[in-house]
Symmetry: C2
Subunit: 214 residues, 2 copies
C-alpha cells in the first residue's frame, strides 16, 4: 500500500531520490527489471532497507524478476513530485550561481531554470546560459507574470537573509539556500526553506574519515 | 557524558554541523552564552532535540545562563574532527570545481585546498585561486609527497567512477563526490565516499513544496 506522502520520513525521501538517479541510469543502459539487491549494492545500503523504502511507494516486485525499472521510476517521481516540471529561478549569479545554472542534473530531473537575478549592476543585462541576468528589483514583477515554484539562493552570506525575505514576499513557495548561512522564513510565510551548505558536507565526511595529516 | 563518536547517528552529526555554523556566527557578533532554545529557533528545530544533540558532546549548560558559546564550538569541532586542519584536493576544475574552490565556507571550517587536478590539457598549468592546475597523471606523486586527507570530486558523470578509483588507489581516505552519479569504492578500499548531488537537494525540497505552476 502506498503511504500518504506526509508520512514518508525525510531520510526515506533522500534515499528515494538516490534510487531514482540509479534507476534512470539503468534505464538509459537498457535495463527493464531490477532487484532491490542490485540497487542496495550500488548505493552501499542493505537490501531490506531498500525494500522497505520501495514499499512506501505501493510498487510491488515479482519474486525472481524484481521490479520494473520504468514503473519504479514513475512511482518515485510521483512521490517526490518530480513527475511534472518545476520552474526555478536563480538568485545570485556569482561563481557558485553560475556553476549551478549549468548543472545538467537539474534539467534532467525536471527543474527548469526560467530566470536569473543579481543586484550587481555590472552583471545585469549579461547572460548566464541562455538567460539574461535581471535586476533583483524586477523580481516581484517577474514572479507576478511567471509561475515560479522554487528559487535557488546563491548570494553572499551578508545578503542572504534580506534576499530570502524578498523571495518570500513575492510568494515563491520554496527556497534552496546555498549561501553559507541559515536563513529563516517569517512566521506568516508558507515558503519552505531548505539549507544546503557545502562545508557541512565536508564536515560530515570528515566525521567518518581518519585523516592522514596531523 | 560524551558519547563515543561511532555511536553518534549521522543525522545528529549533520545537525551538529549546522549548530556549529550558527554558534560561530554568534561568536563573531560577540555573544558569550547561548540557550538551546535560541539555537533551536534559528534553525527551526525544537528545543529538546537541540538539548539531546548537545548532550552527546558531554557539554553541560547552566540553568538560566545556557551554554558557553566558545566551549560548545570547541566540543562540536572535536566531535566532527574539524578542530584540526584538513588537506583537501580538488579533482575536476570545470564550472562547479571552480566555484567550489572559491567557496569561503571551506577554509573557515578548516578545509585547506592544497592541490587542483584536471585531465584537460587546456586547463593544466593555468590557475584556480592561488593554485596551479596539475595533470591528473601527477596525482600519485602529489599524494606521496603531501598528506592529502580529502578529495573533492567534480568531474563529469562519465569520468566519475574511473577518477574516483584513481583517488582511491593513491590512498586518499575520503572523497566528496559532486559528480551527478554515484561512485563506488572497491571492496578492499578504506576510502569513504560521500555523495553530494545538487539535484537531489532540489528533489528533497520539491517533496515538501506545493508548486504554483501546473
Amino acid at each position: 500500500m502506498t503511504k500518504p506522502r506526509q508520512q514518508i520520513p525525510k531520510a526515506t525521501v533522500t534515499r528515494l531520490a538516490f534510487y531514482l538517479r540509479e534507476l534512470q541510469q539503468m534505464q538509459r543502459s537498457g535495463l527493464a527489471n531490477i532487484q532491490s539487491r542490485s540497487i542496495a549494492e550500488r548505493l552501499g545500503l542493505n537490501d531490506s532497507q531498500v525494500r522497505r523504502d520501495i514499499s512506501c511507494l505501493g510498487t510491488v516486485g515479482q519474486r525472481g524478476v524484481g521490479y520494473r525499472v520504468e514503473e519504479l521510476i514513475e512511482s518515485i517521481q510521483r512521490v517526490l513530485g518530480t513527475d511534472r516540471n518545476w520552474n526555478v529561478i536563480l538568485v545570485g549569479v556569482g561563481n557558485l550561481g553560475r556553476a549551478l545554472s549549468g548543472y545538467r542534473g537539474f534539467q534532467q530531473q525536471g527543474f527548469q531554470l526560467v530566470g536569473a537575478f543579481d543586484s550587481d549592476p555590472a552583471k545585469i543585462g549579461s547572460s548566464v546560459g541562455s538567460l539574461t541576468i535581471q535586476s533583483l528589483d524586477r523580481l516581484p514583477e517577474f514572479a507576478r507574470s511567471n509561475q515560479v515554484d522554487l528559487a535557488i539562493l546563491a548570494v553572499p552570506a551578508d545578503a542572504a537573509q534580506s534576499v530570502a525575505s524578498q523571495i518570500e514576499r513575492v510568494g515563491i513557495p520554496g527556497i534552496l539556500n546555498f549561501a553559507p548561512i541559515a536563513v529563516q522564513a517569517s512566521s506568516s510565510s508558507r515558503t519552505i526553506i531548505q539549507e544546503v551548505d557545502l562545508a557541512i558536507e565536508l564536515q560530515r565526511l570528515a566525521f567518518s574519515v581518519v585523516p592522514k595529516s596531523n
